[in-house]
């Protein structure tokens, strides 16, 4: 890394020096040519003056022209032969032209080199910066559950509480562990997604069935949080997506909504067709967010003021965005303001009804049973979070 940088900087310095040299060389050549042409003109002028003197002294025109071949005599006046004068001018022009073309070619090539190297250097600096801030964020994210874990353990050690009093401490520790496990999984998952090392299938899927499956898995949590989830999705709406990606995306969005909604709140899912696409809107009556945060919530480790999901890793919605991008879809978030709820809209390419897998196959993948061909992504990403949700109660 460091050696590469030194090499790049050296190359940049060399190219810059070369560019300066080419520039200097051009100026020098131009000056030299000008000087040469002027010298030639001066020498011709001297010859003409000499010829004139000879003529004035009575030497014959033929003799003068023989003695000074560059000179012609016209009406008794000695002057430089026109073809020579022209040759001089055109030679000067030819050289200047040559310098201009060659010089600008070299300079252009060098400028291109400079641009390439500078770009590489900038890109590298940006990657470095991102890595630094990623590391800082990750370590911060881990330190809080670690601190909580350590505090609970030391409390147990210091106070040796009776089993009844120890129970909540132990549950807290288990939840902290689950949270860290989820974070590790999600960090790896988002790193994989970021590098684009995920191959997603493009299957036609019935949206209503996929959503129903996720809701079924979160039902228990919604009940305990007294949150009503309603879903109105027409059975003929079909999307093109990877089945696991669809599952992860819907689950992450719903879990986010569940965390944002206070007791007694509600979450409504509706879907509609729009220009060759299918849109799923997940509207919640939760904490919402300010106008500036609509895009920010899909960035890594974003935690919004007053945000409900204190156990979140800050990666859930980032993973949603990446998966939607990889599925040729998109995701947007809207809120009328803090405290006014939020709507997350997921958009997939629509699939023709005839290509969709039979509903029976969809029914077969009920909660707890891994979908056929599950690459482990959905399971890994979501399981810890589900157990976290249970321990939160």
């Amino acid at each position: 890394m460091k050696a590469t940088r030194v090499f790049q900087l050296t190359a940049l310095a060399l190219v810059l020096v070369s560019a300066v040299q080419v520039g200097w060389w051009l100026l020098d050549q131009h000056a030299y040519t000008v000087e040469k042409v002027q010298a030639a003109r001066a020498s011709y002028a001297e010859q003409a003056a000499a010829a004139q003197a000879l003529l004035d002294a009575g030497v014959s025109v033929a003799r003068v022209e023989q003695l000074l071949p560059s000179i012609v005599v016209n009406d008794g006046r000695a002057m430089l032969a026109p073809q020579l004068a022209q040759a001089l001018t055109s030679e000067e022009r030819r050289r200047d032209n040559q310098y201009a073309w060659e010089g600008s070619f070299f300079l252009l090539a060098l400028a291109a080199c400079i641009a390439v190297i500078a770009r590489a250097l900038r890109a590298e600096a940006r990657v470095h910066e991102e890595q630094e801030s990623f590391l800082a964020l990750v370590s911060h994210q881990f330190k809080t559950p670690l601190a909580s874990l350590q505090l609970s353990l030391e409390t147990l050690a210091l106070r040796a509480p009776p089993p009844d009093a120890a129970r909540p401490l132990i549950e807290r520790m288990l939840a902290d562990l689950a949270r860290m496990e989820l974070m590790v999984t999600q960090i790896l998952e988002s790193a994989r997604l970021e590098r684009g090392r995920v191959e997603l299938k493009a299957e036609a899927l019935q949206l209503a069935a996929a959503v129903a499956r996720v809701i079924l898995q979160l039902e228990e949590r919604a009940r305990s949080g007294q949150v009503a989830i309603s879903s109105e999705i027409a059975a003929d709406l079909n999307v093109v997506s990877d089945p696991l990606a669809l599952d992860v995306v819907v689950r992450n969005v719903l879990e986010n909504a569940l965390a944002a909604v206070p007791r007694g709140g509600n979450i409504a899912l509706t879907a509609q067709r729009a220009n060759g696409a299918v849109q799923l809107a997940v509207r919640d009556s939760g904490v919402g967010f300010g106008p500036a945060d609509g895009a920010r919530i899909f960035e890594k480790f974003t935690r919004l003021p007053g945000g409900g999901n204190r156990y979140g890793t800050g990666l859930g919605l980032f993973i949603v965005r990446r998966l939607m991008e990889l599925s040729q879809g998109s995701v947007t978030a809207h809120s009328d303001g803090p405290g006014k709820g939020a709507t997350i809209t997921l958009t997939w390419p629509a699939a023709a009804a005839s290509t969709v897998a039979a509903p029976a196959a969809v029914e077969a993948t009920v909660p707890g049973v891994e979908a056929p061909g599950a690459a482990g992504m959905a399971g890994n990403v979501t399981q810890p979070r589900a157990s976290l949700g249970e321990s939160r109660r």
């Binding site: 911060h140 330190k143 670690l146 601190a147 909580s148 609970s152 409390t155 807290r172 003021p305």
Partner: protein
């Protein structure tokens, strides 16, 4: 401050588990403890209640811990603050102390150390308050200066009104209690900071320089805050002849 507030600790931490653990332990140690999940909540609570100590997380959603501390100090609230933070590098420590914090603990921390620091801060302030409790001890007059320890205010020899920081007031208090005696830098550190928050006794020197600038007619030739080379300082009420 009411007697109840003297053992009351406010815990501002957005992580519910950590907050619960800290609150339980403080209660087990005999403190009254209240939790706040974010900076706004904490400031609202503090506008109505007093407490002996604020345990303040630095990374909070909304106004962060440093902002809360700064706001408090601007309000003239001198309640001591113990910062908790996930970042423990020296630059962060300095930022916390500059914002008006009294102490700094990096996450994850040891419970015993946390409790020790809480005790140390509360004890320090207990001492300061009881040492400024009577009419005679609440006000210090020296030279033509007058210091009100309870209000953290002073009127200097040239008639200027000055606001004192808690640390300045505490140093002044320690020196005044031992007027005429030599007080070592280490003693001052121990009494005022109580812990190894600052890396060196140089900090004490800087505070003495600030006090001289505030109260000495000629800070370059101090008559009240005298340096005892190699040992510490001596405070003279009457001024050196």
């Amino acid at each position: 401050m009411s007697p109840a507030a003297a053992t009351h600790v406010l815990v501002v931490e957005d992580d519910p588990h950590l907050a619960a653990g800290v609150l339980e332990n403080l209660r087990a140690e005999g403190y009254e403890a209240t939790g706040a999940g974010n900076g706004e909540q904490a400031l609202t609570w503090l506008a109505k209640h007093g407490c002996a100590l604020i345990v303040l997380d630095v990374m909070l959603p909304g106004i962060d811990g440093l902002g809360v501390c700064r706001t408090l100090r601007e309000r003239g609230d001198s309640t001591p603050v113990l910062f908790l933070t996930a970042r423990g590098d020296p630059a962060d420590r300095v930022r916390g102390l500059e914002a008006g914090g009294d102490d700094y603990l990096a996450k994850p921390f040891h419970l015993q150390e946390f409790l020790l620091r809480v005790r140390a801060i509360v004890r320090r302030w207990d001492w300061y308050r009881s040492a400024s409790a009577t009419a005679a001890t609440a006000v210090l007059r020296f030279g033509d200066n007058e210091v009100d320890f309870r209000a953290f205010r002073a009127r200097t020899w040239n008639g200027e009104a000055q606001e004192l920081t808690e640390k300045e007031a505490m140093i002044l208090k320690v020196l005044a209690e031992h007027a005429g005696e030599i007080v070592s830098r280490e003693d001052l550190l121990e009494r005022v900071w109580g812990y190894d928050v600052f890396p060196s006794t140089r900090t004490v020197d800087n505070f003495i320089l600030r006090l001289r600038k505030r109260f000495e007619k000629d800070p370059a030739n101090p008559r009240h805050f005298l340096t005892v080379w190699g040992v510490g300082y001596r405070f003279l009420k009457e001024g050196e002849a």
